[in-house]
């Protein structure tokens, strides 16, 4: 009896998922929960948090003009441009890479993937020089010497230019995990499917893509979509890095995470920063829901 009961417990499925569950709770669920709880408090990292109800949220929606006028608009615009375009680019690059021979493919994959890991350093070295606001900047050099512009354009200090540049730079660095997942997915597709389709009257590459490739890698595509949504919404600090520290001119390219960082780690208003991140979480969930609708199994 006793032994059987023990064995029964040992065989319990809960025990099997226990290690994962423990780590998940510790590393992911707890911080999120803590952030949610903190968002209802006023907390300066030193004193004990004081519960203040919805005040943080009310302040965000009524008093925080920077958040409402710049951060939200910028984040959404940034995400809806960089997310889908980066996603499509990732798919087509992965598909094209799948067509080249193995050795070359590996080299190409490393080249394409590398911007997403070397982002910050490369940005300082490459993009800031390209868009530099004096004649030494490549684009200004071309504009002045080839097209006869009278004066260099202050690309990185002008609110009108900074945001598009930020988008270009992000697209350049967006071939990350999602891209690798799709590449792996495409390489995993059974060749015989294509052969069978060819026999059945497949006419061209477009049909291959639409009728075989995409349906076969749907899970990877969903993963990639989620990654790109989270990635774009989590982006931060790009505008500052390009414009050279501090707050970018006229809050151009000021994203929600920048706002949270500003309140959390500059002003140490952790409660308020948590509230901002909770709002971001809700937005991300919303967009993820749309992604599931589009790419999920039901579709």
């Amino acid at each position: 009896m006793y032994e059987k009961g023990w064995k029964k417990h040992l065989q319990s499925p809960y025990l099997f998922i226990a290690p994962y569950a423990l780590l998940f709770v510790l590393i992911i669920a707890t911080p999120v929960l803590v952030a949610m709880v903190l968002s209802f408090t006023s907390f300066n990292t030193i004193e004990t948090p004081v519960f203040i109800g919805l005040k943080n949220y009310v302040d965000i929606f009524t008093g925080d003009t920077v958040f409402l006028q710049h951060a939200v608009s910028n984040t959404i615009l940034f995400s809806v441009i960089v997310g889908p375009i980066g996603y499509m680019m990732a798919f087509f690059l992965a598909w094209m890479l799948a067509q080249v021979p193995h050795r070359a493919r590996t080299i190409y994959a490393v080249i394409i993937y590398s911007p997403s890991i070397t982002g910050a350093i490369m940005m300082a070295n490459v993009w800031r020089i390209i868009f530099s606001g004096d004649e030494a900047g490549y684009i200004n050099y071309i504009l002045i010497n080839w097209f006869g512009a009278d004066s260099p354009v202050q690309f990185l200090q002008d609110a009108d230019y900074l945001f598009p540049i930020m988008i270009i730079v992000s697209l350049w660095g967006s071939m990350g995990l999602g891209f690798l997942a799709m590449l792996a997915g495409i390489l995993n597709i059974d060749r015989s499917l294509y052969e069978a389709a060819a026999i059945d009257g497949m006419k061209n590459r477009w049909q291959e893509i639409f009728y075989i490739t995409i349906p076969s890698i749907k899970p990877q595509m969903l993963f990639s979509a989620v990654m790109s949504i989270i990635g774009t919404f989590n982006a931060a600090g790009l505008a500052q890095a390009l414009a050279g520290g501090g707050v970018p001119p006229q809050y151009a390219g000021w994203l929600i995470v920048d706002h949270a960082n500003d309140f959390g780690f500059t002003r140490f208003e952790m409660g308020y920063a948590s509230a901002v991140t909770v709002i971001l979480l809700i937005i991300v969930l919303l967009f993820n829901k749309i992604a599931y609708r589009l790419f999920g199994e039901r579709g």
Binding site: L54, Y57, V58, F61, T62, L68, Q69, H70, V72, S73, I76, L77, V80, W146, F147, G148, K203, N204, W206, G299
Partner: protein, 798 residues
């Protein structure tokens, strides 16, 4: 100078006074009701709107002290309302006081007799509290006079002349009497003192006049002509003295002498041949001169008070023709150098300049179409709105007391702007050959006096026309001033009163809105801005109104949203268990089976999810009928109307549209598309029938039916700051629809991708051709009719 015909001059004065008197007597009633021109203001889309009269024609100045004008150039009003009119034909400046009485004239014949450094072109005049500046482009100089000395020139003595032989000129035998003051009245003294004799003419055909003592006949002195003889004759009055008519001369001893003459600066650029030909000048508080020079490519010439060159200022950028830009890209430096000499780059020379009390320099350029007026600060930054409406030909401008700027244009338009460059009034005083008081043939210069009257010089008719501001204009000015002074109540009252004169007057509504905002009344401001369709204002005030509302109600909103979520969740659970909606669903199912249209309409969501299947169904299974497609077109029309009617005005590009007109345009484009696409595909192995094209086109638009109403409604609670929420979904839906469109053509007609692209271009081209054809037929309507009847008659009669 020719002899002056005294009697004629006198007669002219009398006539003029008479005309003026009659003019004044009648004008107050007649003119007010029938101004010979219309005044316009701008609405929110920079369109012209007719409004009440802003200025009505008033008095005219036709001559100065008996001397008619010859070539009027410029008018200036100083701080004490003295009016200065320059006349290049007479090389003089005429001075009038504020009641338009002729006071004096500024003349300068040169430093020594016969020297070529006197007035010649007298292009304009500028007057400060101490000095008078008169630029003369022909003499390459700016003459500086002392204002007090000019205005208060001492009257040395009076002389009385009796024109013995009635010759109307100074001729042999004319006698002069001395003057005597009796009880403040001046009369001639009993006996003449001089008698004159014309002894001959000098080389310039001027009379040499010998003055002799009346009694002894002793020769006293000779003089050439009257100017040299008696200095300046200012005015003369006819008196009846012992039965003879005598003329009283007002004699000034001193001639006008400039206190300073600024000539070509010594700076190298001028010594190397840069032309210094001052035409207009303004002077700032430090005494620096900003000079409009003839052919001054670099803009205004800025000199300090001593006449030393400081810098060039406010030049118009060179306009390089597009062809030259391309050339400069291709050609080598040597070729460019060669071209440079032959090139005709058009330079836009500044036409006139003005300065306001804050020191902003205003320029106007007659050859420009855009950026006609510029308002520079010291460092040369332009503060005038680049959107300011302007016309080619603007020659002169004046800055009024309220920051308002008036500009006169050679073809007769007079525009008044507020300090930001928004057009307040515009009216055309061009006479177009009609001779009416208040209409001008060639206006050259404009000024405003302290009573806000406009003074305009008409070179063509050789007169100065005065325009009186109406009560409407006065209210506008008072409101502008009050707002600047921070007196919102006064501004509000005055803007309101302007609305009694002109109901469509966006400027007043905007002004009212601004006044309300200063008082913190955002809701009233929003109402006013909406009346004026002032988008930026609407956006900003709505933001504030919404913020105030949120501050009060946000917790309630949170609560309601939470309740809705919880309610929905509970309902879902309960519905799963008890299935409340079963009845509703069954009803709907029944309806679907009964009515084909309902069934087809409820197919739309499924179609949107699987468009490729959908096109297959339409093509092969006749899934959607023509009737349903027509209903969809109707629904699209409703959405389209909604777009113009319901969308927040700040997101619409055109606000005042004729919806029916737009609908007809859109409808005809769609009809053209369906027909063109069908026929093009018919001859290009397309499989789709006409019905297929009609139906699938309708179905391709269906995503709009779902998205557009939502964002149209949503737009009403958005401001420019949240424009993303409006523009992004809209852009996405349009892209979405275009993708469906593409696949529609591909699937319906069974094309490859390349073929599809090809077909789209061909269809568009066909649409264009058909459109042009319809247009031509429409315009030739009557001719075609006549031609066909002619042909018919020919056929019948032969």
């Amino acid at each position: 100078m020719k002899r002056i015909n005294w009697n004629n001059a006198v007669a002219m004065i009398i006539l003029f006074t008479l005309v003026l008197f009659i003019g004044i007597a009648t004008s107050s009633k007649v003119m007010a009701s029938s101004t010979p021109y219309y005044t316009y203001t701008t609405d929110n889309e920079d369109g012209g709107v007719k409004t009440s009269d802003a200025y009505t024609p008033g008095e005219q100045i036709l001559e100065a002290g008996g001397e008619s004008f010859k070539t009027l150039e410029y008018v200036y009003v100083d701080h004490e309302d003295y009016i200065y009119i320059t006349d290049s034909g007479r090389a003089k400046v005429f001075i009038f006081d504020k009641d338009l009485n002729f006071i004096d004239v500024i003349e300068y014949n040169g430093s020594v007799s016969g020297a070529d450094d006197g007035f010649y072109a007298v292009n304009s005049i500028y007057v400060t509290e101490e000095k008078i500046y008169i630029p003369d482009s022909f003499r390459n100089s700016v003459f500086v006079f002392d204002r007090e000395a000019i205005l208060n020139r001492d009257q040395q003595y009076f002389l009385w002349m009796e024109d013995i032989d009635d010759s109307d000129s100074l001729s042999t035998g004319d006698v002069f009497y001395l003057n005597e003051e009796i009880d403040g009245v001046s009369t001639p003294i009993g006996e003449p003192v001089f008698v004159v004799e014309v002894t001959g003419q000098n080389a310039d055909n001027r009379d040499i006049v010998l003055f002799k003592d009346y009694e002894t006949g002793e020769e006293l002195f000779t003089k050439v002509d009257k100017a040299e003889m008696i200095g300046k004759i200012l005015n003369w009055v006819t008196y009846d003295y012992d039965g003879t008519d005598v003329l009283k001369f007002n004699i000034y001893a001193a001639k006008n002498e400039p206190i300073q003459v600024i000539t070509t600066p010594t700076a190298p650029v001028f010594q190397e041949g840069y032309l210094f030909a001052p035409k207009k000048v303004v002077v700032d508080t430090r005494g620096n001169l900003y000079i409009v020079g003839a052919q001054s490519n670099n803009g205004l010439i800025m000199l300090n008070a001593e006449g030393e060159f400081l810098t060039f200022f406010g030049g118009n950028p060179l306009r390089t023709p597009f062809i030259d830009q391309i050339r400069s890209f291709i050609l080598t430096d040597i070729q460019k150098e060669k071209l440079r000499n032959e090139n005709l780059i058009s330079i836009d020379y500044v036409s006139s300049v003005a300065i306001d009390e804050k020191g902003f320099i205003y320029t106007v350029t007659s050859t420009l179409e855009n950026d006609v007026i510029k308002k520079y600060n010291v460092s040369g930054k332009n503060y005038f709105s680049s959107d300011a409406l302007g016309w080619v030909g603007a020659v002169d401008l004046w800055v009024g007391d309220y920051g308002n700027v008036v500009v006169v244009e050679e073809f007769g338009w007079i525009n008044e702007y507020n300090s930001n460059g928004q057009l307040i009034f515009t009216f055309s005083v061009s006479d177009a050959g009609i001779d009416r008081v208040g209409l001008l043939s060639l206006p050259k210069s404009i000024a405003i006096d302290s009573k806000d009257r406009l003074l305009v010089v008409d070179q063509g008719n050789k007169l100065l026309q005065i325009y009186e501001p109406t009560a409407f204009t006065n209210a506008v000015h008072t409101a502008l001033q009050a707002y600047q002074d921070g007196d919102e109540d006064l501004a509000r009252v005055n803007w309101k009163s302007t609305l009694e004169y002109a109901t469509i007057f966006d400027l007043a509504h905007i002004g009212l809105g601004d006044a309300y905002i200063r008082q913190g009344d955002y809701e009233s401001a929003l109402v006013e801005y909406k009346l004026a369709s002032y988008k930026a204002g609407i956006s900003n005030t709505y933001w504030q109104v919404r913020q105030d509302w949120m501050e009060e109600n946000l917790e309630l909103v949170f609560f309601v949203v939470l309740m809705l979520f919880v309610g929905r969740w509970i309902f879902k659970i309960l519905n799963k268990k008890y299935d409340y909606t079963k009845g509703l669903r069954n009803k709907f199912k029944e309806l679907r089976t009964k009515s084909r249209t309902v069934d087809e309409l409820s197919y739309i969501p499924e179609f949107i999810k699987h468009p490729l299947d959908g096109y297959y169904q339409i093509k092969r299974k006749d899934r959607v009928s023509v009737k349903t497609a027509t209903i969809i077109y109707g629904m699209l029309a409703v959405v389209f109307v909604m777009y113009y009617e319901v969308t927040n005005i700040i997101f619409l590009e055109k606000t005042n549209v004729n919806i029916l007109y737009e609908l007809i345009i859109l409808g005809s484009v769609l009809i053209l598309w369906v027909i063109a696409n069908y026929f093009i595909c018919l001859i290009n192995d397309g499989e789709g029938s006409f019905k297929n094209v009609y139906v699938s086109t309708a179905m391709s638009f269906t995503p709009l039916l779902f998205v557009a109403p939502v964002i149209i409604l949503l737009s009403n609670v958005l401001t420019y700051q949240e424009a993303v929420f409006y523009s992004v979904p809209l852009a996405f839906t349009l892209i979405w629809v275009s993708i469906y469109f593409f696949f529609m053509i591909k699937e319906i007609h069974n094309y490859e991708v390349g073929e599809t692209v090809n077909i789209i271009f061909k269809s568009m081209f066909t649409m264009l051709i058909m459109g042009i054809f319809v247009f031509v037929v429409y315009s030739l309507n009557s001719q075609i009719f006549t031609v066909s009847t002619e042909i018919a008659r020919e056929l019948i009669e032969r």
